[in-house]
Symmetry: C3
Subunit: 323 residues, 3 copies
């Protein structure tokens, strides 16, 4: 069971204590909250969208927040917790385990880095580093950059100036240019007039080896899941990556592209400038998406699409000629 | 008459001194420059677009820069100042009252905050705060953030790192994530070859209680008017809010959305990622605008629109099927 | 021959040493690498796109990396170096001359500015300035701004807070608002699975007199060429300007517009919010591009276009009515 290194887990809690309005025959102990795929015995998970059925059928979680209709998919080993609003109950449960995960409270452990702790790291001026930050050899951190507690940065990385990093794990030879904001809480909340309920975000950002992220990008951390950028993937300036997005290897993402929450990209995907990808979509391997496109449905491997909404490139050219 | 707390008013001036080429029978004293709606007795206002007719008919201003055609709408109590280019004359008059409002000169009163002045405020490292900044209890300001003179921040706010704030008034429990730039001069100028005339921006940004603004957003202050973000409205990453925009309560604005100058949103408006709203438009209550849309006309209450240009969602789906 | 002031040139090299796999009859000395237009005697250039034919025919370079087919266009005075992948060979050659130009290594010469060196410049708090930075009289640099080595800033400029400047030359009376990142390496690389080859960027950003760049824009430096923003051109918030882009005078670029690499704009071009211009395009003088447009082909002088893909405004309205 992987421990959350960025948030202190206040658990375990008995399930009866988490859902006080429910009645459970078996008051099992819950140790953590995880996604359907990542949960293991002792974990609580959630299931609110039919397109995650196969993950639900195979989850190893001990309990699952869900609704009546979807609950039948869960395996015998997983106790269903039937609720009217899955995300609301998930938020309530998560905040019990991780109380300060619904707002990005600034890290008050920040200090100028102790050179003796980071003997082979180069720092620019006025860099602030939180507790337990790990930085690999030959990495260079630019001026006025802030790296909050427990962030891990591999060796041979170049982090530019005025960067903000929290809740992130970076591989080796990663380049992050000036002005990027990485690992912040995503755009998740339960709308309530007068005062929305802020959804806790306990995930992280994982950036693999040889990734390059150009200037002024924003990459939000996962909510329950993680946000992942695969090996050797390059992002141009001002790209927006929402929570839980997963990109494969060797992708090329041009300037000002936006990814809504929980979309996944295969390997070798290339996307032209200002394109947008809607939430929860699956983009296959080797897909090419033209600049300015708006992708609103899943895209199969090797497809070339363009347009708003995006269609096959052939169709796009045909539509254009006819107009 | 509300005083401008961010800019020092050099007035009052006699109207004859403001418009030296005009001849006035009654050389009235002008105390300030305000919008049609906000002006009271002693104020100068301006009127250059027919869609503000009802405001013009009811203005309490003592004088109004306008053109021949529109001037007939003004009430008897308001002296019309007929000019060939309303915005040019407005800029000239405004700069007389507020000489340094056409460029964002950095604040030279900035200092590290005096802990005794802000006993119940938490500050990160290397925060700079200008003269007369007010910050409420339990507010936390992140590292490397700059807050210029006279800004007011309510209690229980969380302001992230590397934020820049000027000419802004924030309510309570406001969250502003890392990298936001709020209160800067908007994109307003009178085009002149060789050297444009920069339009003075004397307005402010008003952010109401419980607003959340995600990472790397830009919110420009108003020109003569204010820019307002209503209670409990949430903005995702990289949203661009131009001068004089007014948003209602409980709006949800997804990533990379852009608002051109002076557009207004009702309450409970939700807008998908990368959509854009043109200048001076009125978006009603409970409107839903799909991701990637380009809105180029007013939208009535409760409408659901999508597309570029945005049409009703029904029509959008119909067009798509036919193509 | 103009010297590169931002990168140290390790040359000259004999051409045989640059291209070890080739055999040259005449082992000429190469002093620098330039574009077809800017190269003079002793320079190496490159030619890989037919639309640069007239520049190729008139180049003064002594040698040119190109392919078999295009090589016939070159003048007698220019030695063709025939390669399978022009950009790959160009990258290899460039990195020999300028070893550290493929990654934005933070400047380790940064210091708080010495007031005696800049007696008539105003600095905010915590400004860092690199070696040989030149700043003109009456210029004001905002707090937490970083200006790397050899940058030149003219007189009467206003540089906001939290700005990052490298490899840039600014004229007089330039205004750059808070959060802009200017002069960084552009999005250029040769895709290689496992580890892309980062394309060296040895160009600069040239910003002419009276330019205004609003908050949080990114302007990348040129690769071999320069990125240029012409006199009196204004950029609104969150504009993305890729490498080698050239804008003329008096342009108006609204918020969130994106320019792909190497596109050129004439004078007096105005572009509405969120529009995008594809790479290597030529936009004529006095062109108007509507908000949200996606420009995918060259546009002639005085044209008014809109749409995605952009068509004449007349056609755009016609298509809209028919739908």
């Amino acid at each position: 069971m992987l421990k959350n290194i960025f948030f202190k887990n206040k658990g375990p809690f008995n399930i009866q204590k988490i859902f006080t309005k429910h009645k459970f025959k078996n008051n099992i102990k819950i140790y953590d909250i995880k996604t359907l795929d990542q949960a293991s015995k002792g974990d609580l998970t959630f299931f609110d969208q039919p397109n995650y059925k196969s993950s639900a059928a195979n989850t190893k979680a001990s309990a699952c927040i869900t609704n009546e209709k979807l609950s039948s998919v869960l395996p015998q080993s997983c106790l269903p917790v039937i609720v009217p609003n899955v995300l609301y109950s998930l938020a309530q449960a998560t905040i019990q385990f991780y109380p300060n995960s619904d707002i990005d409270y600034p890290d008050d452990s920040l200090k100028n880095p102790n050179k003796s702790k980071y003997p082979s790291v180069k720092f620019g001026k006025n860099v602030f580093v939180g507790q337990n930050v790990k930085i690999g050899k030959n990495t260079f951190i630019g001026s006025n950059t802030v790296i909050e507690h427990d962030v891990e940065i591999g060796k041979n990385c170049i982090i530019g100036s005025q960067v903000f990093l929290k809740n992130s794990i970076l591989g080796e030879s990663v380049v992050i240019q000036s002005g990027c904001k990485i690992g912040l809480k995503g755009f998740g909340f339960i709308p309530v007039k007068e005062k929305n309920i802020k959804f806790p975000h306990i995930g992280k950002v994982i950036i693999k080896d040889n990734v390059e992220i150009a200037s002024s990008c924003t990459v939000d951390r996962g909510s329950i899941d993680n946000t992942i950028i695969g090996e050797n993937t390059y992002l141009d300036n001002q790209v927006h990556v929402a929570h839980n997005v997963k990109m494969g290897k060797n992708c090329m993402i041009a300037g000002q592209v936006g990814f809504a929450g929980s979309c996944t990209l295969g390997d070798n995907v290339s996307i032209g400038g200002q394109a947008g990808v809607s939430g929860h979509l699956k983009i296959g391997n080797n897909v090419k998406i033209g600049g300015g496109s708006g992708v609103v449905k899943n895209i199969e491997d090797n497809a070339v699409v363009m347009g708003y909404p995006a269609v096959s490139f052939k169709q796009f050219i045909k539509n254009w000629r006819e107009n």
